[in-house]
Amino acid sequence: MSETPLLDQIPDGPWPSFVKEIRKTAEIQDKLVAEGKEIKMPGSARGLLKQLERSYKDKRTHWKHGGIVAVVGYGGGVIGRYSDLEDEIPEVHHFHTIRVNMPAGWFYTTKALRQLCDAWEKWGSGITNFHGSTGDIILLGTRSEYLQPMFEEMMRMDPPFDIGGSGSDLRTPSACMGPAMCEFACYDTLDLCYELTMEFQNELHRPMWPYKFKFKCSGCPNDCVAAKARSDFAIIGTWKDEIQIDQEAVREYAKWMDIENEVVKLCPTGAIKWDGKELTIDNKNCVRCMHCINKMPKALKPGKERGATILIGGKAPFVEGAILGWVAVPFIEIKKPYTEIKEMAERLWEWWDDVGKFRERVGELIWRRGMREFLRVIGKDVDVRMIRYPRTNPFMFFEKHELRPSKYLEELDKKGVKIRSFTYGEEEE
């Protein structure tokens, strides 16, 4: 009988099977090992199958917490993992993953990929995730002692591959394909992603913050990397001026498209009019949702005054409930060398380092300290576009300089009562 009766049922059905991938790895490696190829983790793919079969039977994981494992000089990028079935399945006793920083936009040459595969054949399980949900290439499963040689091999590739983030550090930034292939891109997502990654290599490789921090770059509000939901600092392309309209192309679409029902009526603010000949957009009323542009890519384009919106705080639900990033800067120009964005991030981190609690994401910190303080930190003015609606309670704070001189304040002063007055970074002046 099969060693894996439960897993054997997985390949049923038309969708590609991960079990088949593991089994294929196991089978090829068995053969290669037999052929004498240098493979440091022989049988680990098969071991993984065995352990997974046990999980399917027991309906629980058999992985234990990882200890601290890393490569020399780096604090993150490796997730330690040990099996609780080490006696039974020693092949997967250690089964750490390495997060490899992917190229922005997940574009590859076959040459680069083959180098990685070859190295992982030698030093690891031969199993990968393309990609992890932060965006890294995930190399799934190796022993502690092979981490360093694997990394050293990565250094020597052409081009070399570096390690991604994990732990309380900057996580590997990611970007949609943007200008490489998409006509909607309002800024160069790949370049910004690359530049942020390079500028903050230290932050990426050496965990030293209260918790993790994620950048994601999407070229337009369609948000094809789900940055709004999954990054502390989402940079979403947008525009301020008029949507560009090619009326001729609109008329082309009109030949087969129901513009009235599918474009005009679905505009969330009713900003579009179509008289059968001309499409007009009330740009004062347009909220840059992309729908009309998505519908007629040949005819409509985002405006020319392009930039991005910064949304802050997106994250998973622990502990205060999930957060969709909210608007911190409604519009910012995105221009090489991206100094403004970089400085904004640095100021934010400095503050977070200062006043953040252990395992407190920046979004939660801002909730705790208030948007006002946050705005001072990033050096930005308030804008009504940061809110869905103004506050519903009158529990406002006022700062000293906002109050009128009065006897009452003098008496408070005499009593030694301090009035709130928040200025960030003023010491520097």
Binding site: W367, P390, T392
Partner: protein, 369 residues
Amino acid sequence: MAEERPEWWKTDFGPPHYELMLPEVLKKNYGKWAYHEVVKCGVIKRVAESGDTIYVVRFGTPRLLSIYTIKELCDIADKYTGGYLRWTSRHNVEFILTDESKIDDLIKEVQERTGFPCGGTWDAPTGKYALSNIIHTQGWIHCHTPAIDASGIVKAVMDELYEYFVEMKLPAMCRISLACCGNMCGAVHASDISIVGIHRAPPLVDDDAVRRTCELPSTAAACPNAAIRIKAKEKTVEVDGEKCMYCGNCYTMCPGMPLFDPENDGAAILCAGKVSDARHRPELSKVVVPWVPNEPPRWPTLVSYVKKIFLAWAENARKHERMAEFVERIGWERFFDLAGIEFTEHLIDDFRIVPFMYDSYRVGTQFRW
């Protein structure tokens, strides 16, 4: 231990039964009204299934009434309605006529004797709405915590918007409310426009009074922001002015913690709340002007802000579109433009209860420019 009580002594007998207060025509047609029509501003014709018809004539009042005015209203009711009258839930007084021909005389007589204007009705069928009276509170007339007066501001605002009370020329219902402190004794947290008194400086602890009149633990516990520290040895408390949000909760518990600063007390202005479910679900009001100073007796700054907000809506809203619906359509960015008021940092919620305020943050990138 019951004392000896006179035979007329009663307890827990409750309010008069409402039936005792209803004119015959209401009793007869109770629950059997067929429809109503607004005949003209202030006059509602109500027709019963039986065919009986009444005319309800509505007048604005200042709410604060002299018993002598009430008696005058009674005189008029005796003369025109057989001795019945009622008040509405917004401080207006109504006379229930059965004889259509008496409407104008009634109106004339009420106005001559009391000065109360006829109006405040609205008519959904034709989509014409008058402004009603302002729900409000005590202010300097009676309360111990107000940051503003109530009646005086109501008077100044209603003087300015008077024409909208006596004519039905608004596109939709508009409810204005006022509360003189954050306790919000009124519907200001869910009104089209509301005015709420706010303090802006921490309490000035009167140590003597605290010792005399306050229980320290409950005073400290009253503070939502944990800004009060008990000084056990001195038997008093201390306020951390940087944490305080001037809510006055501590003062409610302890008279030794007044927080009245004539120069810095004043009002915040809110808008775009509603209560009815008509079209759009109920909504809380939102703060749009963080502070205007106290300027008795006529509060010109406050009145001008209220008017700007009111007109931004009244002149641009569609039929039946209340403030909340209007803003939903045009967006807050456009609203602040139209009203000519400034969006300030204060208007972003940062009250400690985290996700509540967050609900007001924008997620997504939909804006108008």
